[in-house]
């Protein structure tokens, strides 16, 4: 009887081991496939998220409500201070508003004089944030617009003030936005007023680093950072944030977008800029133009 028991246990443990082996190998194969054909794997993942998240959003909302209550409650304690700060800020803003109105008038006049054509294709629509990436190693959010709303990969998203990230995956009803703080996010930027070019790279902290600054002396804390539009990933001139220095003296970005409260995002609808592919074509055009003018 005891022997039988032992055999049973042995058999059971053997089956366990085989099962474990099969599962581990299966997972590793999945990992390899994910690594080799990354874009397809990400598409499959997105399709699953697309089915899953909208269906559990009714479950997410109680958590969101509880969280908001907690946040509101913690802000009550500082409400007097916040109120005073806001009053001061409103004073300042009123001054700037005045300035802005005057400048706007001036700007419009100058634009009119220059006869500038603004790009009519750049407009936006608003999306709501559905879910966050659950792990600390990826900085993604899921928004509630997808391919049925005409979203395309690579479009920029802002929170109205500063750049938030770019669309990296599009499902039918949802799409994935990679935040600037993600480690895979690298964006060409220009630092104003010096005009230095640099790259904003995320490192999973709230303050992405500024890499590849040519002349570091020209960059000061407080300088403003904009996208350059290089590489045709982003439209030019979107505000990202301000330069700050960390305790090691390294330049980082204090993001203008309020990453703590991302609820609504503006997705910038962007059509690719018509690019010059063959330089001959332009020269040829130029020569014909010349001919025409010479004919005249």
């Amino acid at each position: 009887m005891a022997r039988n028991n032992n055999e049973d246990v042995n058999n059971a443990s053997r089956i366990r081991r085989v099962l474990l082996g099969i599962l581990v190998v299966f997972c590793l194969i999945l990992f390899l496939l994910w690594r080799i054909d990354n874009s397809r794997a990400e598409n499959i993942r997105l399709a699953i998220l697309d089915k899953f998240v909208p269906n559990v959003s009714f479950l997410i909302s109680p958590f969101t409500v509880l969280q908001n209550i907690f946040l509101d409650f913690s802000s009550y304690s500082e409400i007097f201070q916040i109120n005073q700060d806001l009053t001061k800020e409103i004073q300042k803003l009123k001054y700037w508003k005045e300035q802005a109105i005057q400048w706007e008038a001036k700007y419009a006049k100058l634009m009119d004089l220059n006869n500038v054509k603004l790009d009519p294709k750049l407009n936006y629509f608003t999306a709501m944030v559905l879910a966050d990436s659950g792990s600390g190693f990826r900085q993604n959010i899921l928004i509630n617009v997808g391919s049925k709303d005409g979203i395309k990969n690579g479009w920029a998203t802002t929170d109205g003030l500063g750049l938030v990230g770019r669309v990296t995956g599009v499902g039918e009803q949802t799409s994935l936005v990679m935040l600037l703080t993600d480690t895979s996010s690298k964006i060409a930027v220009a630092i104003q007023p010096s005009g230095e070019k640099a790259i904003v790279q995320g490192d999973n902290t709230r303050f992405p680093t500024l890499e590849l600054i040519e002349k570091g002396d020209l960059v000061n804390a407080g300088d403003r950072i904009f996208t350059t539009g290089d590489g045709e990933v982003f439209p030019k001139g979107l505000l990202i944030g301000r330069v700050v220095r960390d305790s090691n003296g390294r330049e980082r970005v204090n993001l203008a977008a309020d990453y703590k409260r991302l609820t609504f995002l503006k997705v910038m609808r962007m059509t690719p800029i018509e690019s010059v592919i063959e330089s001959d074509a332009i020269i040829g055009q130029d020569t014909t133009d010349d001919k025409e003018t010479s004919d005249d």
Partner: protein, 174 residues
């Protein structure tokens, strides 16, 4: 006994589902400042140290593979590591059967650190962009720190009763 096992497995699934939903709530303020510890891994370890025969391998594989997909992690890698580590924990279970909590916690910390850094090293080998060493270290420490909480949570799943598994795993002690 088998029916209670199924109930415990179901409870484990429900708890994991709630944890996942809580973790993907947009803009969790807790998540903004520090990396999110792996609650599920901790919970799984806690249950395995209390009742090694409650969670079958397939269930753990299923739960972790789905979180890999939902949390935008490299698909499959973390699951494979968790499966190996939990199986290892199961084989070591008899040592910690009547050890006190602190000893178990130390062993769990060792397992967590082992899995975290094997994860990091494999990602490095495959040249996948990722966070630096400190991020991983903080993450492992936080996961170790929440172990007591997950230990308490495991009471809700497998109950207080310790009698069930004694006979099965270390022979008849009583």
């Amino acid at each position: 006994m088998t029916s209670s096992f199924w109930i415990q497995r179901l409870t484990y699934l429900i708890f994991s589902f709630l944890l996942v939903v809580w973790l993907i709530v947009p803009q969790n303020p807790f998540k903004q400042t520090i990396p999110t510890p792996d609650f599920l891994f901790c919970l799984t370890l806690a249950i395995i140290f209390r009742r090694p025969n409650v969670l079958p391998i397939a269930l753990i594989g299923l739960v972790f593979l789905s979180t890999d997909i939902l949390f935008n992690r490299p698909i499959g890698l973390w699951t494979a590591i968790v499966l190996i580590i939990t199986e290892f924990a199961r084989t070591q279970f008899w040592r910690y059967n009547d050890a006190n909590f602190i000893t178990t916690w130390l062993f769990v910390s060792f397992l967590i650190i082992l899995s975290t850094f094997s994860h990091m090293i494999i990602l490095n080998i495959f040249v996948i962009s990722q966070s630096d060493f400190w991020h991983y270290l903080i993450w492992a420490l936080l996961t170790i720190l929440i172990y007591p909480i997950m230990f308490c949570l495991s009471f809700l799943i497998v109950g207080f009763d310790r009698k069930n598994y004694y006979g099965k795993f270390v022979g008849n002690r009583e």
